[in-house]
């Protein structure tokens, strides 16, 4: 067996961005020898190798070149320089319903699509029922694909691609369209495929998934590999990059202003790294630009997706602050952080009791990283004792 299933060697891809996409004779004659386009390098010297049986995840911002790279691997595009070598049959799922003919029925499309992938009618006959069952489209298989929902498209496409039993499966950000049950099912099937020793290349924006299923992750940015390695490391780096890109927002009339938010550890030192189980102090420094009666101070800890892990405020805790003037700070003492590894953001806010008036709100303002000595799965650490009875 060849050493690599897919070998991407210093691949660069240049697109010509025409100023106006007119390819007529007139244009050619008028712009003869005059370059009517700009060069755009969608990929720059990308090298990645995937061994048979490995699962490679590719992540990166929109437009970073992920799809372009996959298209170079699947011979839809050809690199401007560098080369791609693949060993084994490939089934690729690059876009929702790619290759489906809306005017044909689901059944006809299964055969057409499989033959596009290079598989014969006989092979499809054998697996037809399996494909339809996996896609859960028994009732609709003889309907026109034109009338399918986008979820149904992707079910059918995915069912075909995995059931034709390729050596290399390439998936580009299409599973996101399926509902949760179907995504689960696909991931389970992907794990089965992994176990059978097949190679998978996987592009997704749901980077947490790569932690679950990939053995190696590559992050692209503006066409270059900026980080590669173990999923966890690359994904954390990804979150950092993505987060600096989006500015934490700020609002409020600032009658009561937040001067700063500090995260302190046990020793009351400011830090940005906490360990599971450690305490944390969140200090919110304020200044009253005019006297304010009965304000509420609050905070929340969100993960990178915007899910709030925890949040509370002085009203919920039954505190009445009276009228504030001058300066001071409010300190929230969190006795033990339960979160496992990952990146989190602290928001802080001061508002009126009825939340009608917002004095100052810093959204996702202070980032910190959770580290953990345990390798347990999930978001939260739940102290667990294990007993075995026999």
């Amino acid at each position: 067996m060849a050493e690599y299933a897919v070998e991407i060697d210093e691949v660069s891809k240049m697109f010509k961005l025409y100023h106006e996409n007119v390819k007529s004779l007139k244009e050619k004659v008028l712009f003869f020898r005059k370059r009517g386009y700009e060069e755009f390098w969608a990929l720059k010297d990308v090298s990645v190798s995937v061994k048979p049986g490995e699962t490679l995840g590719i992540i990166g911002a929109n437009g970073s070149g992920k799809s372009t790279l996959l298209k170079c691997v699947t011979k839809i595009l050809y690199p401007t320089s560098g080369k791609v070598v693949t060993n084994g049959s490939i089934a690729a799922l690059l876009e929702l319903g790619a290759g489906f003919q809306p005017d044909l029925t689901g059944r006809e499309n299964v055969y057409l699509n499989a033959s596009i992938l290079g598989f014969s009618k006989k092979e499809v006959d054998k697996r037809f029922d399996e494909i339809v069952a996996f896609a859960e489209l028994e009732r609709f298989i003889d309907n026109h694909v034109r009338n399918y929902s986008s979820g149904m498209y992707i079910r059918l496409g995915f069912a075909i691609a995995i059931n034709v039993d390729p050596d290399i499966l390439i998936i580009d950000e299409v599973l996101a369209v399926g509902d949760e049950a179907f995504q689960r099912k696909c991931l389970e099937r992907i794990e089965e495929i992994q176990e059978s020793g097949k190679t998978i290349i996987f592009v997704t924006h749901n980077v947490e998934i790569t932690k679950e299923i990939c053995s190696y992750v590559v992050m692209l940015d503006h066409g270059s590999v900026v980080k590669e390695g173990r999923p966890r490391e690359v994904v954390n780096y990804y979150h950092q990059v993505m987060e600096t890109a989006e500015e934490g927002s700020e609002r409020g009339d600032r009658r009561l202003e937040i001067l700063g938010v500090a995260l302190l550890n046990e020793a009351e030192e400011p830090t940005t790294v906490f360990h599971t189980g450690q305490p944390m102090k969140i200090r919110v420094a304020w200044r009253a630009n005019e006297p304010v009666t009965d304000p509420v101070f609050g905070f929340s800890i969100d993960d990178y997706r915007g899910f709030t892990a925890y949040g509370t405020n002085t009203r919920l805790k039954g505190l009445d602050l009276g009228t504030l003037t001058g300066e001071g700070f409010v300190q929230f003492d969190l006795s033990s952080l339960p979160m496992l590894e990952g990146r989190y953001l602290v928001s802080a806010a001061i508002h009126s009791r009825d939340e009608q008036t917002i004095y100052h709100w810093l959204d996702r303002h202070v980032p910190f990283d959770m580290k953990s000595d345990v390798d347990d799965a999930g978001l939260l650490y739940v102290p667990t004792e294990i007993q075995v009875f026999r």
Binding site: T74, I76, L77, A92, A98, G99, Q101, D103, S115, G118
Partner: protein, 279 residues
């Protein structure tokens, strides 16, 4: 190039499926469906017969209808192949940009569908001939060879044009205009003798048109007044004749067809790499 042919062979079922798709999609939502393949030549036959029976009013009527049809059906096959295949690559961005497969299957499928239509129409035409009691010549046995020649010629041209069209969209429009002119440069609705009389010295040039040779071959094997039918009807001279087939003409056309096929395919394969980003 050999690799490409192998790849095409692996995807032979795709070619079949695309061809069937082409036919199916064409007749989806039409009540008569496949019957339209028959209707076209039937209506043509009916109209021509009617028109010529009014215009000509003697037994030459059948002759002319047969002459016309035996050239027109192969010509329509040729033109439809060109017109339909030239836009196939550009017209299927959903496939070309999103999945890998040998792209030549696209123009090939368009041609495949037209081959199917051609046989349907020929079948109708031959039934008509049987009904009017036409005397077939022995040369009709050359049907497969003549057909092969035309398909070879058409294939090469279609490959070349459909690839060129990706880079220069004028090709599509050019084909529309060019085939119209080409039609009148080929002896289909008028007897070739007329062209000879009118052109004089230029007639040699006229004979260089490969379609003239191919169409004449069709007229020769189906209509053929001089070789067989003439003896029966005894009035050969009054009717359009097929006179100017020569050994060199046929050989030249055959060589040209083979050359075009090789060149067209080569050109297609070379240009194919850029298709996905050009459309």
């Amino acid at each position: 190039m050999i690799d490409r042919l192998k790849d095409l062979w692996v995807h032979r079922e795709l070619l079949y499926n695309l061809t069937v798709k082409e036919l199916k999609v064409k007749y989806k939502r039409s009540v008569l469906g496949f019957l339209w393949s028959f209707m076209n030549p039937l209506i043509m036959l009916a109209v021509f017969s009617l028109v010529f029976s009014i215009l000509v009013k003697n037994d030459a009527m059948n002759w002319f209808v047969v002459y016309l049809m035996s050239g027109l059906l192969p010509w329509l096959f040729f033109v439809n192949c060109l017109m339909q295949s030239v836009g196939t690559v550009v017209g299927n961005p959903g496939l070309v940009k999103k999945v890998y497969f040998p792209r030549e299957t696209l123009p090939l499928a368009a041609i495949g569908a037209n081959i199917f239509h051609f046989f349907m129409q020929m079948a109708v035409f031959f039934i008509f001939l049987l009904i009017i009691g036409w005397h077939f010549s022995i040369y009709l046995l050359f049907f497969p060879l003549v057909f092969l020649l035309e398909v070879t010629f058409t294939l090469g041209l279609c490959m070349f044009l459909s690839a060129a069209n990706v880079y220069l969209r004028d090709v599509q429009h050019f084909v529309e205009v060019a085939t119209m002119a080409w039609f009148w440069l080929t002896p289909i609705v008028y007897p070739i003798g007329m062209a000879m009389n009118a052109l004089g010295e230029w007639f040699r040039l006229y004979l260089l048109n490969p379609m003239t040779n191919i169409i004449q071959l069709w007229q020769f094997i189906i209509y053929n007044p001089h070789y067989y039918a003439a003896k029966v009807y005894k009035f050969p001279d009054k009717y359009p004749a097929v006179n100017y087939l020569s050994f060199w003409g046929i050989l030249g056309t055959s060589l040209l067809a083979v050359f075009l096929l090789v060149f067209g395919y080569y050109y297609f394969v070379r240009k194919e790499r850029g298709f996905a980003e050009q459309i």
